[in-house]
Symmetry: C2
Subunit: 445 residues, 2 copies
């Protein structure tokens, strides 16, 4: 299999506070093409550091990607660093220069001497057209490696990869069997519990790489593997042995097994969000929904309306922070508010019922809780959240106790509310427990 190294150039990437994202999507695009990234390196805008990194990469990888450092300023050193490392002079590429001048003219701007720097490429390099920006990329062969230099601006690099890099990789026969990637999204189980449940399904030496990623939205289990040539070869030479081997090792079966042991905690696979899952379900069942949000402040409405076409099932929402607005907009009785307090099961239920009956929507969903950092008491601590669901048949409330800062508690509360809705839409039991519970999917692992 071809191995690749990605070198990201930019002093700002070394200062902290900024994540380097080009190598992330490049690695993903490469995995889809069966090319495994084995090294990533980040260096600053220094001629020496970029040159060293490229020389080392070309000595160990089949394919080298350099992103960044192709702009017009003197800080942009990639062209010169590669030219020096490969001992080729920089030459003006007339075609690249023409494109830059045209582009600047169309934008009504004067072409500066700096802009001209971008048109210089190491001798013998192939220009890679930049369809969405001024700086061209370039490709050259050095030692036994192919070196691609792409702009640092993500959408320029992405466009150039698809338009110009892929055909070169194809011609050079550097492509392999694409990696298989499965992601399983769960809500309601902590990381350690997931670890325990799926323990042993993927042995340590398995080609499937298992990753658990905990966030406020739950724990995602990712499984990645490169199809193994050895297995496929064996299948042609010795069918019987291969079949028995395949039945034991079939990655798809292992994925199924994991999904099955995680049960109805799995809310989606392959990157779909909870809002898409419930949206699709509402649409399929021809139901409309109305929201009454207190501590989530509009987040559930925001998430549901992130999905294209959500106007078909999202009827309306109200954000009622004050008691007065709960009374006016939802018809929650002031005696219930007084008796149980705004953060309580009975108020969550009254909010869900109120928004449902006032809107005429099929389902009413409500949230009330203490997002913090202030406002917590001993009996109603920060993180206590009640979710109310009102449907034509019944109204239920579920209590949760979340941990984290204000943003995290809001996010978890929105996910918990949508998960209650998901379970009801899927005819799963909607938990109806009066006692707050730990359900935040994050552990100290």
């Amino acid at each position: 299999m071809s191995t690749a190294e990605i070198i990201a150039v930019g002093s700002e990437l070394l200062l902290g506070g900024r994540t380097e994202t080009n190598s992330v999507f490049l690695a993903e695009l490469l995995a889809e093409q069966g090319i495994q990234v084995r090294w990533k390196t980040v260096v600053g805008d220094s001629l020496d550091d970029v040159g060293d990194a490229v020389a080392r990469a070309a000595a160990r990888a089949t394919i080298v990607f350099v992103t960044g450092g192709l702009g017009p300023t003197v800080d942009d050193v990639t062209r010169e660093a590669v030219a020096r490392a490969t001992q080729k002079p920089l030459r003006l590429c007339p075609q690249a220069w023409r494109v830059i001048k045209t582009r600047m003219k169309l934008a009504g701007r004067v072409v500066s001497e700096n802009q001209r720097r971008q048109a210089f490429l190491p001798e013998g390099a192939q220009r890679l057209r930049n369809a969405v920006g001024t700086a061209p990329g370039f490709f050259l062969k050095w030692k036994r490696a192919g070196v691609f230099c792409l702009p640092g601006v993500s959408h320029e690099a992405r466009t150039m990869f698809n338009e110009s890099v892929l055909p070169i990789l194809q011609r050079a026969r550097w492509l392999g069997a694409p990696a298989e990637i499965r992601t399983i999204h769960t809500f309601g189980l902590v990381e350690g519990e997931i670890d325990r449940r799926i323990g042993g399904i993927i042995p340590p030496d398995d080609p499937i790489r298992l990753g658990l990623l905990a966030s406020a939205l739950g724990v995602s289990v990712s499984l990645t593997w490169f199809p193994q040539k050895e297995l496929r070869k064996r299948a042609t030479s010795d069918d019987v042995a291969a079949k028995s081997h395949a039945s034991l090792d079939d990655p798809g079966k292992k994925v199924d097994k994991i999904v099955s042991v995680l049960g109805d905690y799995v809310f989606a696979t392959n990157g779909r969000g909870m809002e898409e899952v419930v949206g699709q379900s509402l649409r399929a069942q021809g139901l409309t929904i109305a929201l009454a949000e207190s501590c989530t402040g509009g987040l559930i409405g925001h998430r549901l309306t992130e999905v294209a076409g959500s106007s078909a099932y999202v009827d309306r929402g109200v954000v009622c922070y004050s008691n007065q607005s709960k009374i006016e907009l939802l018809g929650v009785s002031s005696s219930v508010l007084k008796k149980y307090g705004a953060v309580s099961g009975p108020v969550a239920k009254a909010m869900a019922q109120g928004i449902r009956s006032r809107s005429g929507a099929d389902v009413g969903l409500s949230v009330t809780g203490v997002a913090g950092p202030g406002g917590g008491t001993r009996s109603k601590p920060v993180g206590l959240v009640y979710v109310g669901l009102s449907t034509p048949r019944r109204s239920v409330t579920t209590a949760f106790r979340f941990h984290g800062d204000r943003k995290t508690i809001k996010l978890r509360a929105s996910q918990a509310a949508l998960n209650v809705l998901r379970r009801w839409l899927s005819n799963l039991p909607v938990e109806d427990r009066p006692v707050p519970r730990q359900a935040d999917g994050q552990t100290g692992r």
Copy 2:
């Protein structure tokens, strides 16, 4: 100045889809201590690759940080890779082993042979206590470098850095003058225009590193510099020359100059969000706000309520996707809806007025627009958004035309609405233009 290299270990970091975040906060913590990260490397869980990376790093950096690969499974190779590279045998650290056993016992779990692997450290290495997880870190000196191995789990690495790494860096006198970082957040100017306005303030050879970061929330300008020892030295030897030099070169003055040329497009500095800025202003002026959101779907309410204490000024919000809900919840007249359409200036104004009068809040803010991808027409294309602001004195509407996908348009619309509110709160002119304009702050640079 001490230079550092960060090596992140983990095959999952090379597969794409995942950003590597440990090096980001480590670089930030190190910058605060005056240590500049010069290289970052990511390698998979391979003995050879980790060993090679550590050897190379120790040869070129003063301080090396390795994160990840310290867990209990056979995939966790950092201990062995470092031991092999430094040619030291692995020895059981009885103290580390005791801590692991106690921790597992407290968690009610059985200690496995795998767990024991975590207690082995290269001979001569100093154990770094893990206050929040099982795997200890370790520190050793090799060649002329200090090598720190930290867990891959972020909050464990962060805690270990503060508790155990900092004291070692201090004792070894590896700390320097902390980096200065300023961030200026703007909305309403495209990247190219910002580039043009601030052009020349920071010359190419300036120690200040300038970065522009465009997002749906606007363009942020970041300025980072390490205080220069040379300048300070010169000040003692030749005061007059130093002063004239300092007046030209004072980074603080350059930051002020940039803020001044960007004018009232600057909405915040140093990481504050628009929701914090308007929240603080509402609170200071003792005003309450009510929201009427159509295409933003609750996002503005969500953002305002991300700020702690926002219940003091956020009265309520309604999300009114359907015409019917605009009539029922806001009192928008059906004739205005029929005459101008739901996405129009008059409807935005009626929505803002409606939510203000019905809620009794001081300010009403509304948004109506076409978020897409469907629903656009020639006269009302996807991305057309109207913001309405109703105040005790007057009601205004502003039209915007945004580009991007549904999520981006929602985010830009929420930012534009909050910016209209910010400008009114700061007594700046709130633009009141009937013609849609380009205001999305993103260019193809």
